[in-house]
Symmetry: C2
Protein backbone atom coordinates (compact mmCIF):
# COMPACT_ATOMS: atom_id res chain seq x y z
CA UNK A 1 0.00 0.00 0.00
CA UNK A 2 1.28 3.41 -0.89
CA UNK A 3 2.33 5.67 1.92
CA UNK A 4 0.62 9.05 2.17
CA UNK A 5 2.46 12.32 1.81
CA UNK A 6 2.86 12.94 5.51
CA UNK A 7 4.14 9.42 6.15
CA UNK A 8 6.63 9.84 3.34
CA UNK A 9 7.95 13.06 4.74
CA UNK A 10 8.30 11.54 8.16
CA UNK A 11 9.97 8.38 7.03
CA UNK A 12 12.67 9.84 4.81
CA UNK A 13 13.03 13.48 5.61
CA UNK A 14 12.48 13.96 9.31
CA UNK A 15 15.74 13.96 11.17
CA UNK A 16 16.95 15.70 14.32
CA UNK A 17 17.59 19.44 13.86
CA UNK A 18 19.59 20.39 16.95
CA UNK A 19 20.78 23.69 15.48
CA UNK A 20 17.31 24.96 14.53
CA UNK A 21 14.97 26.41 17.14
CA UNK A 22 12.15 24.55 15.39
CA UNK A 23 12.64 22.14 12.50
CA UNK A 24 10.53 19.99 10.17
CA UNK A 25 6.84 19.71 10.98
CA UNK A 26 5.61 23.22 11.71
CA UNK A 27 4.45 25.91 9.27
CA UNK A 28 7.93 27.42 9.29
CA UNK A 29 11.33 26.43 10.54
CA UNK A 30 12.78 28.83 13.10
CA UNK A 31 16.46 29.66 12.89
CA UNK A 32 18.56 31.74 15.24
CA UNK A 33 21.04 33.97 13.39
CA UNK A 34 24.33 34.58 15.21
CA UNK A 35 25.37 38.13 15.86
CA UNK A 36 27.99 39.58 13.54
CA UNK A 37 26.87 37.31 10.73
CA UNK A 38 25.08 38.02 7.50
CA UNK A 39 22.89 35.37 5.92
CA UNK A 40 23.56 34.03 2.46
CA UNK A 41 20.59 32.36 0.80
CA UNK A 42 20.25 30.71 -2.58
CA UNK A 43 17.90 28.36 -4.36
CA UNK A 44 18.18 26.13 -7.41
CA UNK A 45 15.55 24.09 -9.16
CA UNK A 46 16.48 20.84 -10.91
CA UNK A 47 14.16 19.36 -13.54
CA UNK A 48 14.43 15.83 -14.94
CA UNK A 49 15.73 15.78 -18.52
CA UNK A 50 17.12 19.29 -18.17
CA UNK A 51 19.42 19.20 -15.14
CA UNK A 52 19.70 15.48 -14.69
CA UNK A 53 19.02 12.38 -16.76
CA UNK A 54 16.46 9.75 -15.85
CA UNK A 55 19.34 7.25 -15.70
CA UNK A 56 21.02 8.92 -12.72
CA UNK A 57 21.17 6.85 -9.56
CA UNK A 58 18.92 8.38 -6.86
CA UNK A 59 21.87 8.55 -4.43
CA UNK A 60 23.79 10.72 -6.85
CA UNK A 61 20.79 12.89 -7.61
CA UNK A 62 20.29 13.54 -3.89
CA UNK A 63 23.95 14.45 -3.61
CA UNK A 64 23.96 16.69 -6.66
CA UNK A 65 20.77 18.55 -5.78
CA UNK A 66 22.34 19.71 -2.54
CA UNK A 67 25.84 20.09 -4.01
CA UNK A 68 24.81 22.67 -6.63
CA UNK A 69 23.21 24.75 -3.89
CA UNK A 70 26.18 24.45 -1.53
CA UNK A 71 28.31 25.55 -4.45
CA UNK A 72 26.44 28.88 -4.46
CA UNK A 73 27.25 29.32 -0.77
CA UNK A 74 30.88 28.42 -1.49
CA UNK A 75 31.02 31.14 -4.15
CA UNK A 76 30.00 33.64 -1.47
CA UNK A 77 32.44 32.30 1.10
CA UNK A 78 29.50 31.38 3.32
CA UNK A 79 29.41 28.53 5.83
CA UNK A 80 26.36 26.30 5.24
CA UNK A 81 23.85 26.09 8.10
CA UNK A 82 20.59 24.57 6.88
CA UNK A 83 18.50 23.79 3.82
CA UNK A 84 14.93 23.23 2.69
CA UNK A 85 13.76 20.72 0.08
CA UNK A 86 10.72 20.88 -2.18
CA UNK A 87 10.21 17.71 -4.14
CA UNK A 88 7.71 16.90 -6.89
CA UNK A 89 7.42 13.18 -7.63
CA UNK A 90 5.33 11.49 -10.31
CA UNK A 91 4.53 8.71 -7.86
CA UNK A 92 5.47 7.44 -4.44
CA UNK A 93 8.58 5.40 -5.12
CA UNK A 94 10.24 4.24 -1.95
CA UNK A 95 13.37 2.92 -3.67
CA UNK A 96 13.90 6.32 -5.22
CA UNK A 97 13.26 8.14 -1.96
CA UNK A 98 15.52 5.91 0.08
CA UNK A 99 18.40 6.38 -2.36
CA UNK A 100 17.77 10.08 -2.80
CA UNK A 101 17.71 10.62 0.96
CA UNK A 102 20.94 8.64 1.36
CA UNK A 103 22.80 10.83 -1.13
CA UNK A 104 21.25 14.02 0.17
CA UNK A 105 21.96 13.42 3.83
CA UNK A 106 25.37 11.95 3.09
CA UNK A 107 26.50 15.31 1.73
CA UNK A 108 24.52 17.25 4.36
CA UNK A 109 26.33 15.34 7.11
CA UNK A 110 29.70 16.08 5.54
CA UNK A 111 28.89 19.75 5.92
CA UNK A 112 27.11 19.48 9.27
CA UNK A 113 23.88 21.02 7.98
CA UNK A 114 20.23 20.26 8.67
CA UNK A 115 17.12 19.83 6.56
CA UNK A 116 14.73 22.18 8.36
CA UNK A 117 11.63 21.99 6.19
CA UNK A 118 10.16 21.74 2.75
CA UNK A 119 7.35 20.40 0.69
CA UNK A 120 6.48 17.17 -1.12
CA UNK A 121 3.92 16.91 -3.87
CA UNK A 122 2.87 14.87 -6.89
CA UNK A 123 4.11 16.18 -10.22
CA UNK A 124 6.74 15.73 -12.91
CA UNK A 125 10.05 14.90 -11.20
CA UNK A 126 11.72 18.10 -10.11
CA UNK A 127 13.20 19.46 -6.94
CA UNK A 128 14.06 22.79 -5.48
CA UNK A 129 16.53 23.29 -2.65
CA UNK A 130 17.05 26.51 -0.74
CA UNK A 131 20.24 26.77 1.30
CA UNK A 132 21.09 29.09 4.17
CA UNK A 133 24.61 29.98 5.14
CA UNK A 134 26.30 32.55 7.28
CA UNK A 135 29.28 34.75 6.62
CA UNK A 136 30.91 37.37 8.85
CA UNK A 137 29.47 40.79 8.04
CA UNK A 138 31.28 42.41 5.12
CA UNK A 139 33.38 39.35 4.21
CA UNK A 140 31.11 37.70 1.63
CA UNK A 141 32.71 37.04 -1.74
CA UNK A 142 30.78 38.78 -4.49
CA UNK A 143 30.81 39.01 -8.25
CA UNK A 144 31.45 42.73 -8.35
CA UNK A 145 34.88 43.01 -6.69
CA UNK A 146 37.27 42.14 -9.53
CA UNK A 147 39.84 44.88 -10.29
CA UNK A 148 42.16 45.40 -13.25
CA UNK A 149 45.47 43.69 -12.50
CA UNK A 150 43.91 40.94 -10.38
CA UNK A 151 44.90 37.39 -11.20
CA UNK A 152 42.14 35.03 -12.39
CA UNK A 153 42.03 31.62 -10.72
CA UNK A 154 40.00 28.45 -11.02
CA UNK A 155 39.80 25.54 -8.59
CA UNK A 156 39.89 21.91 -9.66
CA UNK A 157 39.88 18.44 -8.14
CA UNK A 158 43.35 17.29 -7.02
CA UNK A 159 44.82 15.64 -10.12
CA UNK A 160 41.76 16.60 -12.18
CA UNK A 161 40.38 19.49 -14.19
CA UNK A 162 37.27 21.22 -15.42
CA UNK A 163 35.04 20.24 -18.34
CA UNK A 164 34.59 16.60 -17.32
CA UNK A 165 30.84 16.97 -16.74
CA UNK A 166 30.44 18.30 -20.26
CA UNK A 167 32.50 15.43 -21.65
CA UNK A 168 30.19 12.99 -19.88
CA UNK A 169 27.16 14.75 -21.33
CA UNK A 170 28.60 14.35 -24.82
CA UNK A 171 28.82 10.60 -24.20
CA UNK A 172 25.22 10.46 -22.94
CA UNK A 173 24.18 12.38 -26.05
CA UNK A 174 25.87 9.75 -28.23
CA UNK A 175 28.37 12.20 -29.69
CA UNK A 176 31.40 10.20 -28.65
CA UNK A 177 32.49 7.07 -26.80
CA UNK A 178 34.93 6.73 -23.90
CA UNK A 179 36.52 3.65 -22.42
CA UNK A 180 34.95 2.37 -19.23
CA UNK A 181 37.30 3.95 -16.69
CA UNK A 182 37.30 7.36 -18.37
CA UNK A 183 33.52 7.31 -18.68
CA UNK A 184 33.08 6.38 -15.02
CA UNK A 185 35.38 9.22 -13.98
CA UNK A 186 33.66 11.93 -16.00
CA UNK A 187 30.22 10.56 -15.21
CA UNK A 188 31.02 10.89 -11.53
CA UNK A 189 32.14 14.49 -12.13
CA UNK A 190 28.77 15.20 -13.74
CA UNK A 191 26.61 13.34 -11.25
CA UNK A 192 28.48 13.87 -8.00
CA UNK A 193 30.19 17.28 -7.97
CA UNK A 194 31.97 18.37 -4.82
CA UNK A 195 31.01 21.87 -3.70
CA UNK A 196 34.09 23.93 -2.79
CA UNK A 197 32.76 25.13 0.54
CA UNK A 198 36.05 24.97 2.44
CA UNK A 199 37.86 26.82 -0.34
CA UNK A 200 35.24 29.59 -0.30
CA UNK A 201 35.63 29.98 3.45
CA UNK A 202 39.41 30.18 3.20
CA UNK A 203 39.18 32.74 0.39
CA UNK A 204 37.34 35.26 2.59
CA UNK A 205 39.57 38.33 2.72
CA UNK A 206 41.81 36.86 0.00
CA UNK A 207 39.73 36.73 -3.19
CA UNK A 208 38.38 39.99 -4.63
CA UNK A 209 35.49 38.33 -6.50
CA UNK A 210 34.15 34.81 -6.96
CA UNK A 211 31.49 32.78 -8.78
CA UNK A 212 30.87 29.08 -9.09
CA UNK A 213 31.12 27.39 -12.47
CA UNK A 214 27.64 26.17 -13.26
CA UNK A 215 26.97 27.48 -16.76
CA UNK A 216 30.44 27.25 -18.28
CA UNK A 217 33.60 29.22 -17.61
CA UNK A 218 33.22 31.93 -20.23
CA UNK A 219 29.58 32.55 -19.38
CA UNK A 220 30.18 32.63 -15.63
CA UNK A 221 33.28 34.78 -16.06
CA UNK A 222 31.13 37.12 -18.14
CA UNK A 223 28.89 37.68 -15.08
CA UNK A 224 31.91 38.68 -12.99
CA UNK A 225 33.22 41.00 -15.69
CA UNK A 226 29.84 42.63 -16.17
CA UNK A 227 29.22 43.17 -12.47
CA UNK A 228 32.77 44.36 -11.84
CA UNK A 229 32.87 46.51 -15.05
CA UNK A 230 36.18 45.06 -16.18
CA UNK A 231 37.52 42.72 -18.86
CA UNK A 232 39.78 39.67 -18.76
CA UNK A 233 42.40 37.72 -20.65
CA UNK A 234 42.33 33.92 -20.27
CA UNK A 235 45.23 31.67 -21.21
CA UNK A 236 43.20 28.74 -22.46
CA UNK A 237 46.11 26.31 -22.41
CA UNK A 238 46.52 26.91 -18.69
CA UNK A 239 43.01 25.60 -17.95
CA UNK A 240 43.25 22.54 -15.71
CA UNK A 241 42.36 19.43 -17.76
CA UNK A 242 41.87 16.01 -16.17
CA UNK A 243 43.25 12.73 -17.59
CA UNK A 244 40.09 11.64 -19.44
CA UNK A 245 39.55 14.97 -21.17
CA UNK A 246 43.30 15.24 -21.93
CA UNK A 247 42.94 12.15 -24.14
CA UNK A 248 40.43 14.01 -26.35
CA UNK A 249 41.23 16.35 -29.28
CA UNK A 250 42.37 19.81 -28.23
CA UNK A 251 39.30 21.53 -29.73
CA UNK A 252 37.01 19.38 -27.60
CA UNK A 253 39.15 19.97 -24.52
CA UNK A 254 38.78 23.70 -24.98
CA UNK A 255 35.06 23.53 -25.63
CA UNK A 256 34.44 21.39 -22.56
CA UNK A 257 36.65 23.48 -20.28
CA UNK A 258 35.51 26.89 -21.55
CA UNK A 259 31.81 26.30 -22.11
CA UNK A 260 31.06 23.02 -20.41
CA UNK A 261 28.90 23.82 -17.44
CA UNK A 262 28.12 21.77 -14.35
CA UNK A 263 31.70 22.01 -13.04
CA UNK A 264 30.89 23.54 -9.63
CA UNK A 265 34.45 24.70 -9.20
CA UNK A 266 35.16 28.24 -8.02
CA UNK A 267 36.29 30.90 -10.48
CA UNK A 268 37.78 33.80 -8.55
CA UNK A 269 40.05 36.80 -8.71
CA UNK A 270 42.70 37.97 -6.26
CA UNK A 271 45.28 40.76 -6.20
CA UNK A 272 48.54 39.74 -7.87
CA UNK A 273 50.44 39.77 -4.57
CA UNK A 274 47.97 37.30 -3.01
CA UNK A 275 49.13 34.21 -4.91
CA UNK A 276 50.70 32.62 -1.83
CA UNK A 277 47.56 33.20 0.21
CA UNK A 278 45.43 31.69 -2.58
CA UNK A 279 47.65 28.60 -2.65
CA UNK A 280 47.50 28.35 1.13
CA UNK A 281 43.70 28.53 1.01
CA UNK A 282 43.63 25.77 -1.59
CA UNK A 283 46.00 23.61 0.45
CA UNK A 284 43.86 24.09 3.55
CA UNK A 285 40.78 23.06 1.54
CA UNK A 286 42.61 20.15 -0.12
CA UNK A 287 41.74 21.25 -3.66
CA UNK A 288 43.82 22.37 -6.61
CA UNK A 289 43.91 25.94 -7.93
CA UNK A 290 45.32 27.23 -11.19
CA UNK A 291 46.00 30.80 -12.28
CA UNK A 292 44.43 31.04 -15.75
CA UNK A 293 44.65 34.71 -16.62
CA UNK A 294 44.22 38.26 -15.47
CA UNK A 295 41.61 40.99 -15.13
CA UNK A 296 41.96 43.93 -17.54
CA UNK A 297 40.63 47.46 -17.41
CA UNK A 298 39.56 47.05 -21.04
CA UNK A 299 36.08 45.47 -21.26
CA UNK A 300 35.55 42.17 -23.00
CA UNK A 301 37.00 38.69 -22.77
CA UNK A 302 40.16 37.74 -24.65
CA UNK A 303 41.24 34.11 -25.08
CA UNK A 304 44.91 33.41 -25.86
CA UNK A 305 46.47 30.06 -26.71
CA UNK A 306 49.95 28.99 -25.63
CA UNK A 307 51.54 30.71 -28.65
CA UNK A 308 49.97 34.01 -27.64
CA UNK A 309 47.49 33.84 -30.53
CA UNK A 310 44.00 35.16 -29.89
CA UNK A 311 41.27 32.55 -30.34
CA UNK A 312 38.60 33.89 -32.67
CA UNK A 313 35.46 32.81 -30.88
CA UNK A 314 34.28 32.85 -27.29
CA UNK A 315 31.94 29.97 -26.52
CA UNK A 316 28.87 31.15 -24.65
CA UNK A 317 27.65 29.84 -21.36
CA UNK A 318 24.75 27.50 -21.04
CA UNK A 319 21.30 29.08 -21.22
CA UNK A 320 18.60 26.88 -19.72
CA UNK A 321 16.13 28.03 -22.35
CA UNK A 322 18.37 28.34 -25.40
CA UNK A 323 20.26 25.10 -24.74
CA UNK A 324 24.03 24.71 -24.86
CA UNK A 325 25.50 27.23 -27.27
CA UNK A 326 29.17 26.35 -27.00
CA UNK A 327 31.42 26.96 -30.00
Amino acid sequence: MALGEFDLIRKYFTRPTPKAVLGVGDDCALLRPRSGMQWAVSCDMLVEGRHFLSTVRPERLGHKALAVNLSDLAACGATPVAFMLALALPRVDEDFLAGFAQGLFGLADEHGIELVGGDTTAGPLSLCITVFGEVPTGLALRRDGARAGDALWVSHPPGGGIGDARLALEVFRGHLALDGADFEAVRRAMEQPQPRVALGEHLRGVASAAIDLSDGLTGDLGHVLERSRVGATVAVDRLPIGPALARQPRALQRECALAGGDDYELLFTAPPDAADRVRAAAAAAAVGVQCIGRIDAEPGLRLLDDTGRALPRVPRGFDHFAGAAGG
Copy 2:
Protein backbone atom coordinates in the same frame (compact mmCIF):
# COMPACT_ATOMS: atom_id res chain seq x y z
CA MET B 1 12.71 36.31 -31.05
CA ALA B 2 12.73 34.52 -27.74
CA LEU B 3 14.52 36.15 -24.87
CA GLY B 4 17.25 34.15 -23.17
CA GLU B 5 17.06 33.08 -19.57
CA PHE B 6 19.19 35.90 -18.21
CA ASP B 7 17.25 38.53 -20.14
CA LEU B 8 14.00 37.09 -18.82
CA ILE B 9 15.17 37.22 -15.25
CA ARG B 10 16.33 40.79 -15.66
CA LYS B 11 13.22 42.01 -17.38
CA TYR B 12 10.60 40.65 -15.02
CA PHE B 13 12.27 39.74 -11.80
CA THR B 14 15.02 42.24 -11.13
CA ARG B 15 13.77 45.00 -8.90
CA PRO B 16 15.44 47.18 -6.28
CA THR B 17 16.21 45.34 -3.02
CA PRO B 18 16.97 48.14 -0.57
CA LYS B 19 16.57 45.91 2.50
CA ALA B 20 18.98 43.22 1.32
CA VAL B 21 22.74 43.68 1.54
CA LEU B 22 22.97 42.03 -1.88
CA GLY B 23 19.98 41.04 -4.00
CA VAL B 24 19.26 39.34 -7.33
CA GLY B 25 22.24 38.65 -9.58
CA ASP B 26 24.93 37.13 -7.37
CA ASP B 27 25.39 33.51 -6.33
CA CYS B 28 23.54 34.19 -3.10
CA ALA B 29 21.46 36.98 -1.68
CA LEU B 30 22.88 38.49 1.49
CA LEU B 31 20.48 39.39 4.27
CA ARG B 32 21.18 41.14 7.55
CA PRO B 33 19.24 39.62 10.45
CA ARG B 34 18.20 42.09 13.15
CA SER B 35 19.25 41.40 16.70
CA GLY B 36 16.61 39.94 18.98
CA MET B 37 14.87 38.30 16.05
CA GLN B 38 14.53 34.69 15.03
CA TRP B 39 14.12 33.80 11.38
CA ALA B 40 11.09 31.92 10.13
CA VAL B 41 11.56 30.18 6.79
CA SER B 42 9.17 28.14 4.71
CA CYS B 43 8.87 26.87 1.17
CA ASP B 44 6.00 25.59 -0.96
CA MET B 45 6.04 24.10 -4.40
CA LEU B 46 3.06 24.58 -6.75
CA VAL B 47 2.58 22.27 -9.73
CA GLU B 48 0.17 22.89 -12.61
CA GLY B 49 -2.84 20.60 -12.50
CA ARG B 50 -2.24 19.81 -8.85
CA HIS B 51 -2.15 23.16 -7.04
CA PHE B 52 -3.56 25.35 -9.77
CA LEU B 53 -5.52 24.86 -12.95
CA SER B 54 -4.21 25.77 -16.39
CA THR B 55 -7.15 28.19 -16.67
CA VAL B 56 -5.92 30.44 -13.86
CA ARG B 57 -4.99 33.96 -14.88
CA PRO B 58 -1.22 34.50 -14.53
CA GLU B 59 -1.83 37.53 -12.26
CA ARG B 60 -3.77 35.35 -9.82
CA LEU B 61 -1.20 32.57 -9.98
CA GLY B 62 1.57 35.03 -9.13
CA HIS B 63 -0.49 36.28 -6.23
CA LYS B 64 -1.39 32.84 -4.95
CA ALA B 65 2.11 31.41 -5.20
CA LEU B 66 3.36 34.06 -2.81
CA ALA B 67 0.18 34.10 -0.71
CA VAL B 68 0.41 30.44 0.29
CA ASN B 69 3.96 31.02 1.49
CA LEU B 70 3.12 34.21 3.37
CA SER B 71 0.34 32.22 5.00
CA ASP B 72 2.97 29.94 6.55
CA LEU B 73 4.74 32.99 7.99
CA ALA B 74 1.39 34.27 9.27
CA ALA B 75 0.81 30.97 11.06
CA CYS B 76 4.09 31.53 12.92
CA GLY B 77 3.32 35.15 13.71
CA ALA B 78 6.34 36.19 11.64
CA THR B 79 6.74 39.45 9.74
CA PRO B 80 7.67 38.79 6.09
CA VAL B 81 11.03 40.17 4.96
CA ALA B 82 12.04 38.61 1.63
CA PHE B 83 11.43 35.72 -0.72
CA MET B 84 13.07 33.66 -3.44
CA LEU B 85 11.37 32.29 -6.55
CA ALA B 86 12.26 29.21 -8.58
CA LEU B 87 10.21 28.92 -11.75
CA ALA B 88 10.07 26.13 -14.31
CA LEU B 89 8.36 27.13 -17.56
CA PRO B 90 7.61 24.95 -20.58
CA ARG B 91 8.50 27.88 -22.85
CA VAL B 92 9.34 31.56 -22.72
CA ASP B 93 5.91 33.19 -22.62
CA GLU B 94 6.14 36.89 -22.05
CA ASP B 95 2.40 37.37 -21.56
CA PHE B 96 2.47 34.78 -18.82
CA LEU B 97 5.55 36.27 -17.19
CA ALA B 98 4.25 39.82 -17.29
CA GLY B 99 0.96 38.80 -15.65
CA PHE B 100 2.64 36.50 -13.16
CA ALA B 101 5.09 39.20 -12.12
CA GLN B 102 2.25 41.71 -11.75
CA GLY B 103 0.34 39.47 -9.34
CA LEU B 104 3.46 38.40 -7.50
CA PHE B 105 4.87 41.88 -6.93
CA GLY B 106 1.43 43.33 -6.22
CA LEU B 107 1.17 41.13 -3.14
CA ALA B 108 4.87 41.55 -2.31
CA ASP B 109 4.45 45.32 -2.31
CA GLU B 110 1.41 45.07 -0.01
CA HIS B 111 3.68 43.36 2.50
CA GLY B 112 6.79 45.44 1.82
CA ILE B 113 8.94 42.43 0.92
CA GLU B 114 11.62 41.88 -1.69
CA LEU B 115 12.42 39.17 -4.20
CA VAL B 116 16.10 38.57 -3.42
CA GLY B 117 16.94 35.71 -5.75
CA GLY B 118 15.88 32.51 -7.39
CA ASP B 119 16.13 30.38 -10.46
CA THR B 120 14.42 30.08 -13.83
CA THR B 121 14.52 27.00 -16.00
CA ALA B 122 12.69 25.14 -18.75
CA GLY B 123 10.39 22.38 -17.54
CA PRO B 124 6.78 21.48 -16.81
CA LEU B 125 5.09 24.54 -15.27
CA SER B 126 5.83 24.60 -11.56
CA LEU B 127 7.16 27.07 -9.08
CA CYS B 128 8.73 27.04 -5.69
CA ILE B 129 8.84 30.01 -3.37
CA THR B 130 10.87 30.26 -0.18
CA VAL B 131 9.90 33.03 2.23
CA PHE B 132 11.89 34.58 5.05
CA GLY B 133 10.30 36.33 7.98
CA GLU B 134 11.38 37.52 11.38
CA VAL B 135 9.74 37.16 14.75
CA PRO B 136 10.95 38.36 18.15
CA THR B 137 12.85 35.58 19.89
CA GLY B 138 10.51 33.23 21.72
CA LEU B 139 7.27 34.74 20.38
CA ALA B 140 6.72 32.56 17.30
CA LEU B 141 3.35 30.83 17.14
CA ARG B 142 3.82 27.09 16.93
CA ARG B 143 1.70 24.00 16.49
CA ASP B 144 2.68 22.45 19.78
CA GLY B 145 1.32 25.00 22.28
CA ALA B 146 -2.39 24.08 22.53
CA ARG B 147 -3.55 23.23 26.07
CA ALA B 148 -6.73 21.55 27.36
CA GLY B 149 -9.30 24.23 28.05
CA ASP B 150 -8.06 26.59 25.31
CA ALA B 151 -10.65 27.95 22.94
CA LEU B 152 -10.33 27.02 19.26
CA TRP B 153 -10.64 29.87 16.77
CA VAL B 154 -10.63 30.29 13.02
CA SER B 155 -10.21 33.48 11.01
CA HIS B 156 -12.37 34.34 8.00
CA PRO B 157 -12.84 37.16 5.51
CA PRO B 158 -15.10 39.95 6.80
CA GLY B 159 -18.61 38.81 5.83
CA GLY B 160 -17.25 35.53 4.47
CA GLY B 161 -16.30 32.06 5.60
CA ILE B 162 -14.12 29.06 4.94
CA GLY B 163 -14.66 26.32 2.37
CA ASP B 164 -15.17 28.62 -0.61
CA ALA B 165 -12.04 27.44 -2.42
CA ARG B 166 -13.27 23.88 -2.19
CA LEU B 167 -16.68 24.90 -3.49
CA ALA B 168 -14.98 26.53 -6.49
CA LEU B 169 -12.99 23.37 -7.10
CA GLU B 170 -16.23 21.34 -7.17
CA VAL B 171 -17.51 23.65 -9.92
CA PHE B 172 -14.27 23.30 -11.90
CA ARG B 173 -14.58 19.54 -11.52
CA GLY B 174 -18.09 19.69 -13.00
CA HIS B 175 -19.74 18.37 -9.84
CA LEU B 176 -22.09 21.32 -9.46
CA ALA B 177 -23.01 24.66 -11.00
CA LEU B 178 -23.19 28.09 -9.35
CA ASP B 179 -24.68 31.31 -10.62
CA GLY B 180 -22.18 33.80 -12.00
CA ALA B 181 -21.75 36.03 -8.96
CA ASP B 182 -21.38 33.12 -6.53
CA PHE B 183 -18.89 31.40 -8.84
CA GLU B 184 -16.81 34.56 -9.21
CA ALA B 185 -16.72 34.99 -5.43
CA VAL B 186 -15.60 31.46 -4.64
CA ARG B 187 -13.25 31.35 -7.60
CA ARG B 188 -11.53 34.44 -6.25
CA ALA B 189 -11.25 32.75 -2.85
CA MET B 190 -9.53 29.81 -4.53
CA GLU B 191 -7.28 31.79 -6.86
CA GLN B 192 -6.48 34.87 -4.79
CA PRO B 193 -6.32 33.99 -1.08
CA GLN B 194 -5.31 36.71 1.38
CA PRO B 195 -2.59 35.58 3.78
CA ARG B 196 -3.42 36.58 7.37
CA VAL B 197 -0.07 38.14 8.11
CA ALA B 198 -1.36 41.03 10.22
CA LEU B 199 -3.52 38.69 12.29
CA GLY B 200 -0.55 36.41 12.95
CA GLU B 201 1.52 39.35 14.12
CA HIS B 202 -1.23 40.56 16.45
CA LEU B 203 -1.68 37.05 17.86
CA ARG B 204 1.91 36.92 19.18
CA GLY B 205 1.63 36.49 22.92
CA VAL B 206 -2.14 35.88 22.61
CA ALA B 207 -2.57 32.58 20.74
CA SER B 208 -1.18 29.41 22.30
CA ALA B 209 -0.89 27.54 18.98
CA ALA B 210 -1.60 28.28 15.33
CA ILE B 211 -1.57 26.73 11.87
CA ASP B 212 -2.78 27.94 8.51
CA LEU B 213 -5.60 26.13 6.74
CA SER B 214 -4.08 24.70 3.59
CA ASP B 215 -5.12 21.04 3.65
CA GLY B 216 -8.57 21.32 5.24
CA LEU B 217 -9.64 22.19 8.77
CA THR B 218 -9.81 18.70 10.24
CA GLY B 219 -6.50 17.65 8.73
CA ASP B 220 -4.71 20.81 9.80
CA LEU B 221 -6.31 20.72 13.25
CA GLY B 222 -5.05 17.15 13.47
CA HIS B 223 -1.48 18.42 13.15
CA VAL B 224 -1.99 20.82 16.06
CA LEU B 225 -3.57 18.11 18.21
CA GLU B 226 -0.80 15.64 17.44
CA ARG B 227 2.01 18.09 18.13
CA SER B 228 0.32 19.45 21.26
CA ARG B 229 -0.73 15.95 22.47
CA VAL B 230 -4.33 17.03 23.08
CA GLY B 231 -7.78 16.49 21.55
CA ALA B 232 -10.53 18.87 20.46
CA THR B 233 -14.26 19.31 20.12
CA VAL B 234 -15.50 21.33 17.14
CA ALA B 235 -19.01 22.78 16.91
CA VAL B 236 -19.45 22.32 13.18
CA ASP B 237 -22.45 24.64 12.96
CA ARG B 238 -20.34 27.49 14.30
CA LEU B 239 -17.93 27.29 11.36
CA PRO B 240 -18.02 30.58 9.44
CA ILE B 241 -19.80 30.04 6.11
CA GLY B 242 -19.91 32.69 3.37
CA PRO B 243 -23.00 33.61 1.34
CA ALA B 244 -22.28 31.41 -1.69
CA LEU B 245 -21.59 28.28 0.34
CA ALA B 246 -24.58 29.04 2.61
CA ARG B 247 -26.85 28.55 -0.41
CA GLN B 248 -25.63 24.95 -0.78
CA PRO B 249 -26.97 21.86 1.04
CA ARG B 250 -25.79 21.54 4.62
CA ALA B 251 -23.80 18.35 3.94
CA LEU B 252 -21.80 20.12 1.26
CA GLN B 253 -21.29 23.15 3.51
CA ARG B 254 -19.80 20.91 6.15
CA GLU B 255 -17.61 19.00 3.75
CA CYS B 256 -16.23 22.19 2.20
CA ALA B 257 -15.64 23.90 5.54
CA LEU B 258 -14.22 20.88 7.36
CA ALA B 259 -12.15 19.25 4.64
CA GLY B 260 -11.94 21.83 1.88
CA GLY B 261 -8.35 22.96 1.78
CA ASP B 262 -6.81 26.05 0.19
CA ASP B 263 -8.47 28.40 2.71
CA TYR B 264 -5.31 30.07 4.03
CA GLU B 265 -7.12 31.28 7.11
CA LEU B 266 -5.53 30.85 10.54
CA LEU B 267 -6.71 28.14 12.89
CA PHE B 268 -5.48 28.92 16.38
CA THR B 269 -5.99 28.30 20.07
CA ALA B 270 -5.98 30.74 22.95
CA PRO B 271 -6.66 30.53 26.69
CA PRO B 272 -10.36 30.97 27.50
CA ASP B 273 -9.74 34.32 29.20
CA ALA B 274 -8.08 35.73 26.07
CA ALA B 275 -11.25 36.12 23.97
CA ASP B 276 -11.19 39.91 24.16
CA ARG B 277 -7.54 40.01 23.12
CA VAL B 278 -8.28 37.66 20.22
CA ARG B 279 -11.12 39.91 19.05
CA ALA B 280 -8.90 42.98 19.40
CA ALA B 281 -6.20 41.28 17.30
CA ALA B 282 -8.77 40.46 14.62
CA ALA B 283 -10.11 44.01 14.63
CA ALA B 284 -6.59 45.41 14.30
CA ALA B 285 -6.00 43.07 11.36
CA ALA B 286 -9.42 43.81 9.81
CA VAL B 287 -10.43 40.15 9.59
CA GLY B 288 -13.19 38.11 11.18
CA VAL B 289 -12.60 35.46 13.85
CA GLN B 290 -14.98 32.81 15.12
CA CYS B 291 -14.68 30.57 18.17
CA ILE B 292 -15.50 27.10 16.86
CA GLY B 293 -14.71 24.79 19.75
CA ARG B 294 -12.29 23.89 22.51
CA ILE B 295 -9.19 21.88 23.20
CA ASP B 296 -9.66 18.74 25.31
CA ALA B 297 -7.24 16.70 27.37
CA GLU B 298 -8.76 13.59 25.80
CA PRO B 299 -7.04 12.77 22.49
CA GLY B 300 -9.01 12.69 19.24
CA LEU B 301 -11.29 15.04 17.38
CA ARG B 302 -15.02 15.24 18.15
CA LEU B 303 -17.45 17.00 15.83
CA LEU B 304 -20.80 18.16 17.30
CA ASP B 305 -23.72 19.64 15.40
CA ASP B 306 -25.99 22.37 16.78
CA THR B 307 -28.18 19.81 18.57
CA GLY B 308 -25.15 18.47 20.42
CA ARG B 309 -25.17 15.28 18.36
CA ALA B 310 -21.80 13.79 17.46
CA LEU B 311 -21.17 13.55 13.73
CA PRO B 312 -20.10 10.03 12.86
CA ARG B 313 -17.28 10.73 10.46
CA VAL B 314 -14.33 13.09 10.41
CA PRO B 315 -13.36 14.11 6.88
CA ARG B 316 -9.64 13.81 6.33
CA GLY B 317 -7.35 16.56 5.15
CA PHE B 318 -6.05 16.76 1.64
CA ASP B 319 -3.09 14.54 0.83
CA HIS B 320 -1.16 15.69 -2.21
CA PHE B 321 -0.50 12.10 -3.21
CA ALA B 322 -3.75 10.43 -2.19
CA GLY B 323 -6.01 13.20 -3.51
CA ALA B 324 -8.94 14.73 -1.63
CA ALA B 325 -10.36 12.23 0.80
CA GLY B 326 -13.19 14.26 2.31
CA GLY B 327 -16.27 12.46 3.56
